[in-house]
Symmetry: C2
Subunit: 355 residues, 2 copies
């Protein structure tokens, strides 16, 4: 590993971003997690997951999270020295217990087990509990869809810690941004996959707008009096993000909150999740399903665009196209993020190990 | 049955509506379906389902559908003389085949079978195919939730016949309004349940606005050039309903379309459906789950309202409150609808039978 972490010499600079070869940044970030006490396997898995989010263009779920995760390991919010494990409730339900560790390996384990059970039984339900951040949800559902499964994942239960979103008709932040992801084996270019917050914007946007001194889009945030505002500071003065689609996003978020807290709870660490996996080949042969899916998707891709749009996209394809376009050249990190990750690596002893 | 159909004498008139006792209108509408060739059991089930939708305040899915269903039976679009049946695919998946009949008894059969299988296995998947209109989806998911199940139902596959909604970024109607319903065993006042179209408005609103000469709300409809319009006539000139929540509603609709058409298809009659049922008691005792759910729901009910709202509602409670308030006094039908139903009953021979 020592050679591979000499990243500085390979830096290409492009405007405000540093472009780092993929293998190198995965090595560096793996080492950070190892130095904080994670197993080599989990370290590499988490680093690879985060790097892939960057490659997909999902920077909010990418390598910048390294800083947050390390902080959460150091504060005791998450434990580095644990492994997720498959457990069974007294009445026979499958639950992956994250043991208070990071959620990414727990979600991966749940996904593997969910696919295995669905192959056996046709359909499976796996709950995921007692975990920190689970990374980019769509990475897991999409992986299952590539294997021929319909995958549905949603979670919540964090409302005591993450009151960010007002219920529809209310003016006080009471619910987290409880996301949903569904992936379906798709056409010729891979699964159709979505992964969205049930709020109009994800919480990270508020912080990003605040730190950039920018205003938010219209109609996504309300102040403490329930009046729509574009000033991110209003959020910190008792405001709330609005639910996506009004009562619809609110209903989706609330269903996830009841499932996570009342059915799977009590919530420990960050939240709880439910993963449903269905073997599509029980219904139709994969080749037939793919052919029909491609007909549907192709028709949509050829829909004339509305004013202001270049084209109609298939959910999930933008991420894959971004990956294909960038994986050869490397990951373009904001220079400041990259400096913070390097500083972290040095503080945690990377330099010592790497020599 | 002869005495029970003398409805005219019991009419109470209130403004533009006729208020008809529940048992009487169910009897009358049952007889309509019997006279068209449905079995007495299915006739009564469908009439009861429609009446309940009116009691819930969901007029769009209520007794006015009697007129549509009869037209669809008479045109051959649906068959009256069939029963839904449970079948199994070669590879072992459970599919309720509606045999081209009305979807309400098929959905009920699927729900019963889904709950039975979930009680046995923890989780179940039941597909519903080859059916006409399935009624108010939320009635089925809610019934499962009352029995302790998490119930998730969605469907689509009708895009060849029902191109109503533009994909996000597009300006041409390409997808149906593919709805989703989820119900979760809830607090003291019953399950939390939602049932919504993935488009900004259901298709029926366009017809209602057209026939009333009214304009639609802002930002729900685009004309053939993709420009937002409030004129319902623009829909019939090549316009499209917009997806709810932009790319989110579009993604939900597309997932349902691929599942229905590529996984469960080819679509016959109206569309295909997937029903997922999970036994919540495998995770936590019903009493505990209910107590925690009630804590969450109670907190939301007490959220201070936003400007223009009276209170925060729990999805599903408005329908139950409406039912509790109206079931004693009867169903208030628009006078014209009531006259049309009576005329239909007379044409189909009700008067002859009832004497």
């Amino acid at each position: 590993m020592s050679d591979q972490v000499k990243v500085r010499s390979k830096l290409e600079l492009s405007d405000e971003r540093a472009v780092i070869p993929v293998a190198e940044i995965i090595d560096l970030v793996s080492l950070i997690f190892e130095n904080i006490g994670c197993s080599p396997e989990i370290s590499r898995q988490v680093a690879g997951h985060l790097a892939d989010a960057n490659l997909c263009g999902m920077e909010s779920h990418g390598l910048m999270r390294t800083l947050q995760y390390v902080e959460q390991f150091e504060s005791g919010y998450m434990r580095p020295d644990v492994e997720p494990e498959i457990t069974t409730t007294e009445r026979g339900a499958t639950v992956v217990d994250g043991n208070g560790g990071i959620g990414i390996p727990a979600m991966r384990l749940a996904n593997d087990e969910g696919c295995r059970l669905a192959r056996e039984q046709g359909v499976s339900a796996v709950a995921i509990r007692n975990v920190g951040h689970t990374g980019r949800l769509g990475a897991f559902t999409e992986a299952a869809a590539y294997r021929g499964f319909l995958s549905i994942c949603f979670g919540g239960g964090g409302r005591e810690k993450w009151r960010q979103v007002a219920p529809y008709g209310g003016r006080k932040a009471m619910l987290p941004t409880n996301p949903y992801s569904i992936a379906v084996p798709g056409g010729e270019r891979g699964p159709m996959m979505f992964d969205f917050a049930t709020s109009k914007i994800a919480g990270g946007w508020i912080y990003a707008a605040r730190s950039a001194g920018a205003r938010l889009p219209d109609n996504v945030l309300m102040n403490s009096q329930g009046v729509v505002t574009r000033d991110p500071e209003d959020y910190f003065r008792g405001g709330a993000i609005m639910p996506s689609g009004g009562h619809k996003g609110y209903a989706l978020a609330l269903a996830a909150e009841i499932v996570a807290e009342a059915m799977l709870g009590p919530t420990e660490t960050e939240g709880s999740w439910l993963l449903l996996t269905l073997d599509t080949s029980r219904y139709r042969e994969a080749t037939t399903m793919q052919r029909i899916a491609e007909e549907i998707l192709d028709e949509l891709r050829n829909c004339p665009p509305a004013p202001g749009f270049e084209r109609v996209e298939i959910p999930g394809e933008r991420e894959r196209e971004h990956r294909d376009r960038t994986v050869g050249s490397g990951i373009a990190l904001p220079r400041q993020t990259w400096q913070q990750i390097r500083a972290l690596a040095e503080r945690l002893g990377n330099d010592r190990r790497a020599t």
